[in-house]
Symmetry: C3
């Protein structure tokens, strides 16, 4: 399946050029291995308006089938990715976020602290991944088993109209 994937990295340090986007690179490598198209990739600071704006622009112009965010899902005051994402979703899919946490939990209990969400806006599936490269890797392994079917539902359902 020829998914168009967009990557949004959310990182204050990254936006100041103080940290390489290793997690975004891991998502791009995952997409390339599956021959998915990298439709968009950018990096913003941990700011609600900036995050929401990118998600809305990409989803509403149908630039990608799947937007993966990385970063901003934790418990610090600057972590606002789940709220910014939820604010722009048409419908939330809490089970995707539950699966991401629960798959990592047995080996890495701190995964339960991740507050990420997932869902649909327009014809795009959006999933928040954690910020750490390890969390991204674990999350992508979970998505491998369900994300193509998820995108089919999101796009097929709309095409039924």
């Amino acid at each position: 399946m020829a998914l168009r994937v967009a990557i949004l990295t959310i990182s204050d340090a990254g936006s100041r050029g103080e940290r390489a986007d290793t997690s975004g690179d891991a998502i791009a490598a995952w997409a390339a291995e599956r021959r998915y198209t990298l439709a968009e990739r950018t990096l913003v600071a941990d700011e609600t308006a900036a995050i929401a704006s990118v998600l809305v622009t990409w989803a509403d112009s149908d630039r990608a089938d799947l937007i993966l965010t990385t970063g901003g899902t934790g418990l610090t005051a600057r972590d606002v990715t789940p709220e910014a994402t939820r604010a722009v979703l048409d419908k939330e899919a809490p089970g995707i976020a539950e699966a991401l946490r629960m798959a990592a939990y047995p080996r890495f209990p701190r995964a339960a602290l991740s507050r990420g969400t997932a869902g649909v806006r327009a014809r795009t599936l959006i999933v928040n991944l954690p910020g750490s490269p390890g969390g991204v890797r674990d999350g992508l392994a979970v998505l491998d088993a369900l994300v193509e079917h998820g995108v089919e539902l999101v796009r097929g359902g709309r095409m039924d109209h």
Copy 2:
């Protein structure tokens, strides 16, 4: 325990007479095996107002101890069952929906895409099951271990007043 069970099937194709209600039948058979009373059973299209209206009517007139819905929990544009249900719940019980997804997930990762919810309205416990017969069967196996106790709490708690 003599539960009164009501079944609400949510299906556009079913409402047009284009598809047999196999999932509703599976719930009815499950109830019969346990000698639960089938209090109500109907089928509506994937329309928020229609779904909410049936749930409110059944719960507020105390027609059933347990309402099980099937269908409309997916990611397509027509899937609105979770939102319609949440809109009429007095209190949400997210753990029931989590258990339904997570019990199926190891064998069937796509279960994580189901967006169903559960909770209480008036003195009735309401649970969204998936639309597929397999998803219903897996869900009913989960409910076997907790639904009678759940109904006792919902009804006992109210009778304390």
Copy 3:
């Protein structure tokens, strides 16, 4: 790590002096074993305003790093702890509540009926535990693996400002 822990027991029967606070005692013993400070401890009835008021007072005056509640997370009409907690959270951390339920679920399926939540207000992490001593014990075992890191994030994140 020298956590300051506050315990809020929510119980109608306890507030009338009709039941000993065994669950609150279990939390206090857990804290003492870890050499955490018991910063506050009180008991209120299952009333939304009373619960919210205690949480706000303790969090906004920075009396504790971690507030653990016990009670009021079930399905009866009097169970309002999750709603009262959610109303005062700055950000919700659903994964903590999921982990509490899912860790207990295999041995005790009724854990799925618990409606507790968790999250952050100001610089305090708040977690709803179930009301039963067994539920509290299971929940504290889950928290052992993640709560110190959670508090570090909550407080460290704020100190970054």
